[in-house]
């Protein structure tokens, strides 16, 4: 083996090792980005938001007044679905849970967006600060645009939700214009002009 060859081999190995270290370090190892879970009922956001024009807060009623956004109760669903789309198989499932209110059962939704338990995430602080839902939850309003039957995709975790991701926004600030764009809202001039909203980023803001 010639000297030249030997050195290429050795440096090659070194380069590989370095690359591996960096990759493993940067890959959000404990992130569940892209997580998608099958749900007991093929719920579709799009018709509710786009057709029915419902506000997120209609179902996630606590999102602007509690750390916990809350979720529609079965009764809330049945408020409409005793009349609407009663024949659809998915709604039949829903009706089965409700069972005309006679010892009704709650729907065991599978949690998609979950931060570790040592993270305190107050939804309402973010919502009230004007952070649009889409900034974290992605294009949730389009989920299941073609209904539950044609190429259905359940709700998905589009962002890593890992610490670096949170901190990025707390340090560099949330840009209202970007948020509005993500939410498909009109981006006005003063929105564009608005300075990014920074937030605290010392540990005890979220970890206690």
């Amino acid at each position: 083996m010639t000297v030249k060859k030997k050195w290429t081999v050795i440096t090659g190995f070194l380069a590989l090792a370095a690359a591996a270290t960096l990759l493993s370090a940067y890959s959000g190892a404990s992130s569940s980005q892209g997580l998608r879970v099958e749900q007991p009922i093929k719920f579709v956001h799009a018709p509710h938001v786009q057709k029915a024009g419902m506000n997120c807060l209609y179902c996630h009623s606590a999102a602007n007044k509690s750390p916990d956004p809350g979720n529609a109760s079965v009764a809330t669903c049945m408020g409409c679905h005793t009349l609407v789309k009663t024949t659809s198989p998915e709604i039949k499932k829903l009706a089965a849970y409700w069972n005309n209110g006679v010892n009704a059962k709650p729907i065991p939704w599978n949690r998609v967006h979950k931060v570790p338990d040592y993270v305190q995430f107050p939804h309402f602080r973010h919502v009230n600060a004007g952070v649009t839902c889409q900034s974290c939850h992605g294009q949730i309003q389009n989920q299941g645009a073609q209904g539950p039957d044609t190429n259905y995709v359940p709700v998905q975790q589009v962002n890593s939700l890992n610490m670096g991701w949170c901190i990025n926004c707390h340090v560099n600030g949330y840009k209202p214009a970007d948020g509005a764009r993500a939410a498909g809202m009109p981006v006005t001039a003063e929105l564009e002009a608005a300075p990014p909203k920074k937030a605290r980023y010392d540990c005890a803001v979220c970890h206690y």
């Binding site: 083996m1 000297v3 030997k6 010392d202 540990c203």
Partner: protein, 166 residues
């Protein structure tokens, strides 16, 4: 590589042979010895090793990296501990020192490897197992033309064995 190899049993014979071979400019010499010996050093009379330059550069790189990583990462996410300055350079001297030693020493080793052409995966021509035990060796790199003369010199100085290589 072509040349003539002579194995010696005695130090003074080896020294004589080296001096003679050098005087006649037969070609590059390579001397083999089981251990460091000053008579040989004097006879070979080689320039000073350049390893020390590797050491200097490595040490400087190390110390600056040590300070840099400590100061940069402290300022990158400023957290006050014990009311001390965010980037307290005095304690960071320890980091600087340790990195200096680490990088400096490792580059010294690298320098030695590179200069003495190791690791070499094959023991190339002109070596004999005896040279790690009790014998001294002198290898004269020369073409067939000068080989005769070289052999003669080595024998004359009392080589226990002389052989042509390559």
């Amino acid at each position: 590589m072509q040349g003539v190899l002579g194995a010696f049993h005695h130090i003074d014979a080896t020294v004589a042979a080296i001096k003679d071979a050098k005087a006649r400019r037969l070609g590059d010499l390579t001397v083999y010895t089981p251990t460091i010996n000053h008579e040989l050093d004097d006879a070979i009379d080689a320039p000073v090793s350049v390893v020390r330059r590797f050491t200097l550069v490595g040490g400087l790189l190390g110390v600056s990296f040590g300070y840099w990583v400590a100061i940069w990462s402290s300022n990158y996410w400023p957290l006050v501990t014990g009311g001390k300055a965010i980037a307290s350079w005095i304690p960071y001297t320890i980091i600087g020192f340790e990195m200096m030693v680490l990088v400096g020493a490792l580059s010294t080793v690298a320098g030695m490897f590179i200069n003495s052409r190791i690791p070499r995966l094959t023991t190339t021509t002109g070596y004999d197992a005896r040279f790690s035990a009790g014998h001294f060796g002198v290898f004269i790199a020369c073409d067939a033309g000068k080989a005769e003369q070289a052999e003669a010199i080595l024998r004359q100085h009392g080589a226990v064995e002389v052989r042509r290589e390559g």
